[in-house]
Symmetry: C2
Subunit: 211 residues, 2 copies
């Protein structure tokens, strides 16, 4: 039996290092994982290439994708749409690759609702103190900017109790290893192996009957 890929959504605080973790995973296990590429209506920035960072589409095209249900999820930030094209994701899953999607919690929970097989991982620094440190050390911003970031982080964490895993990024290398083994082990979930279980039972039954 060919093993189907698993759709994993990774979310996390800004400053959690989730971007680095995913980049590392993709580098170390290029054959195992595929990173989902989002579609967006925003203009490409210098150096960005269509089909690599994003699929760049017009607003009309994006709204047509929504109507045709060609997006797993989408959201509008300020004046632009961002969404996950369904076809690419399902092609990769059918080929047995585990697809990783990086979106925020509200979008992730919608994906899980539509596709209950989705695995949800949240990446966090070990504690809020450390998260604050990482946000502060990013630049030389004023207190107000930092406070607003922390407030956003708090909002970002709404709904995280519904995730499957809450992964602590204390040491990058260990964390990459942990995320990899969580996704790998997910393939051994009984719920994902019902066909195999049925097969073994049916064979045992026919052996026992002396067939």
């Amino acid at each position: 039996m060919k093993r189907k890929g698993i759709l994993t959504v990774v979310s996390g605080f800004s400053g959690s290092g989730k971007g680095t973790i995913m980049k590392q995973l993709l580098t170390e296990h290029a054959d195992t994982y595929a990173l989902s590429i989002s579609a967006t209506t925003r203009a490409p920035r210098p150096g960005e290439r269509n089909g690599r960072e994003y699929f760049f589409v017009s607003q009309e095209e994006f709204e047509e994708m929504i109507r045709q249900k060609k997006l797993i999820e989408y959201a509008r930030y300020v004046d632009n749409y961002y969404g996950t094209p369904r076809d690419y994701v399902f092609q990769q899953l059918d080929q047995g690759r585990d697809v990783i999607l990086e979106i925020e919690i509200q979008g992730a929970l919608k994906v899980k609702e539509a596709y209950p097989d989705t695995l949800l991982l949240f990446v966090s620094p070990p504690d809020a103190e450390e998260l604050k440190r990482r946000l502060v050390n990013r630049g030389t911003e004023e207190e107000a900017v930092i406070a607003s970031r922390l407030s956003r982080a708090w909002q970002e964490a709404q709904g995280v109790e519904n995730y499957d895993y809450f992964v602590i990024n204390d040491d990058l290398k260990e964390c990459v290893q942990e995320v990899h083994s969580i996704i790998k082990n997910e393939h051994a979930r009984a719920a994902r192996n019902q066909a195999l279980i049925e097969n073994i039972r049916a064979e045992l039954k026919s052996f026992a009957k002396g067939e």
Copy 2:
């Protein structure tokens, strides 16, 4: 926060190698795991020591343990009782050790009902053909004996679809590694880290307010 241990029940076909896997786990990670020791009313066999292979008790003592709800689960086979003493298991869990219990499916499902946090693993050979081979190669039994073993194996598999993981024992070393990483990753389950999540949220909230 001190990390609490996880109660894991391992079941599997006779011939699945689950006994060897558990022995290996205990040897490689003696500080991480504790193996639950069953109580039984059967007489000790030569070489067996009270408190090592089993806690050997009288029928009266066992029935008193049942009445006092001092057993996590118990069953009667032929003329003897077998059961899992609760105190030892909970002491080990409180000390942060992951406790492994080896019982069959029906007992395991009862444990999960009473303690929903329990992790259920089922160990299986890669397919029924291989299971048959392992059962046949054990000795020089007649067809009828083998058929009855296969029939028992089929019965042993009833309810396995309700397990958390269905682990294939194809290569012993890899399988031990997989079981270890499944139990290890289980500590990162969001459902097991609600207190930590609440703490981080509360701290972020107070930072954001500039407290």
